[in-house]
């Protein structure tokens, strides 16, 4: 891979598709060929706390509204967040990847979050798979916010030899206690992202949003980390902005030669252990045990 990545840290207007599309297009057009891929935050096209607006802003992936993005994706790959209406009519919190004038891949948020101030389980259907997006610029593992807080997504992409995790987020800014420094939520994210770099020997791009929705602030802190967890580019503070970084395979190769964690991974051990936790697998295990006797 050799990818000139741009991460856009935006402040989407809640429920205002036109304004948000305009903002996306401006940022895309401003790059004028100077990048290969632009990554936007979670629900970047719609805003986050939609509640009953979810159905109003949902659209299918062949909606003509998306045409300006498809056109631009001939020259720049685009990953953005939106409410996807599936052919069956389910509404997903999706990260959609446009390339070469078409939708190359879609990740539907698997780990919807429904605790604390979140209520996604009420508003969205949950995705059920993690699939690498094979782009002309690399193998990307898309994740949406809470997906990063559970192992299966990043781990699946690790098994599938993704070059980079693309993490789109709308993370609330929380935790102002001393001594800090900075927001506790941001420090936690940095630990989480860094640990993923180290455990999976991968590039990690994190697109987070800023702004306020009814008193809930979003913390920003977008960044690109290399497979050693060094920040190659980062946005601190509460303002919108963009950052760019070059993701190259030479760094990835060196990091993976130094620590061949993927080579030494034993997914079958996990599969066997999972048999104790997943009822269907447990039943199959028991059946096998009986047969063996």
């Amino acid at each position: 891979m050799d990818c000139r990545l741009v991460v856009a840290q935006t402040n989407p207007a809640l429920g205002d598709l036109r304004a948000n599309l305009e903002d996306h297009l401006q940022r895309i057009d401003a790059l004028a060929g100077a990048a290969d891929l632009i990554l936007f935050p979670e629900l970047s096209l719609t805003g986050y706390f939609l509640k009953d607006q979810v159905a109003d802003v949902a659209m299918s992936l062949d909606d003509t509204f998306l045409r300006p993005l498809l056109e631009r994706s001939r020259h720049l790959s685009i990953a953005l967040g939106m409410v996807e209406r599936s052919p069956e009519g389910r509404l997903f919190n999706s990260l959609v990847f446009f390339e070469d004038g078409r939708v190359l891949g879609v990740h539907r948020k698997v780990h919807l979050v429904s605790y604390g101030l979140f209520d996604e389980g009420r508003d969205f259907a949950a995705g059920e798979e993690f699939r690498v997006i094979q782009s002309r610029h690399g193998r990307f593992g898309p994740l949406i916010c809470e997906d990063m807080w559970h192992m299966p997504g990043a781990y699946t992409y690790f098994l599938d030899d993704a070059d980079a995790l693309l993490v789109a987020s709308a993370s609330p800014a929380r935790g102002v206690e001393a001594p800090g420094p900075g927001l506790a939520s941001q420090r936690t994210w940095n630990i989480l992202l860094s640990a993923s770099c180290l455990m999976y020997r991968t590039w990690v791009a994190y697109a987070s949003r800023v702004g306020w929705e009814d008193g809930i602030g979003f913390g920003g802190g977008s960044r690109v980390l290399d497979p050693y967890a060094n920040a190659r580019a980062a946005l601190e503070g509460l303002e919108p902005g963009t950052l760019s970084a070059r993701l190259d395979s030479a760094v990835l190769r060196r990091a993976r030669t130094e620590l061949p964690l993927r080579r030494d991974e034993k997914p079958w051990v996990l599969a066997a252990e999972l048999g104790r936790h997943v009822p269907l697998l447990r039943a199959l295990r028991a059946e096998h045990a009986l047969r063996d006797e």
């Binding site: 207007a13 809640l14 429920g15 205002d16 706390f49 509640k51 009953d52 607006q53 800014a173 102002v176 206690e177 001393a178 001594p179 800090g180 420094p181 900075g182 927001l183 702004g211 306020w212 929705e213 009814d214 008193g215 602030g217 509460l238």
Partner: protein, 273 residues
Amino acid sequence: MSELDIQPELVSELLVSFLREEVRSAGATRALLGLSGGIDSAVIAALCARAFGPENVLCVLLPYRLSNPNSAVDSQSVATHLGLALQRIDISAMADGYLEREGVSDARRRGNVLARCRMTVLYDLSVEWRGLVIGTSNKSEILLGYSTQWGDGAHALNPLGDLYKHQVYQLARALDLPREVLQKPPSADLFEGQTDEGELGFTYAQADRLLYCMVDRRFSEDELVAEGFEREFVRQVSARVVANHFKRVPPVIAKLSRRSVGHDFRYLRDWKR
């Protein structure tokens, strides 16, 4: 250092950003507030001055004939210190038109009427000023229910509502406010000699620590006692938190239709803003 300590610069940055964006999304560019001479409204005045520029902030002093004269002096010193306009509107005639005429003598009822008169004036001025009313209630007051419903509890935005009194003091020190405002005992100044702590029966320092453990950290009663709080105090404060919950929620609507405002008509205030 206390476990309630905050990073004042970070909080100030967040609240300035909050004020700017939420005022803008309400379609306004200016703000107004009732300046009481106390610490909460002084902090709000300072944050608004940073967020909107002093020329876009209107402070209103709303004395009653029995108000402590020091409140006016301290309010003026805050406004002068921050370079803000201070408008003085005496609510005595307005309040006494009801209180004296009807012979209301109960201190609590009188206090509530004064708070609601002030609210009425602020909301009226907000039309002329074309600005949003910024509230000054902090988390300690909101949880303890130490406010008047539809009085000081009524406002468009509340920057301090998630900060305990201890944290408001910390913020105030970082915002460089006049020393006399930082040092005087908190008072609603609704009747002579009133102080918050005298009326509540405990200090903010005690209540803040307890509320922090109870609400933010979700300690059970037994865990709070193990943490060193008197069981009686825990029960007294819990009872206040529960008894005053009605002040924290909008009026309850009887659900009759398939989709009712207040139950399953779910939109943020920032809907399509």
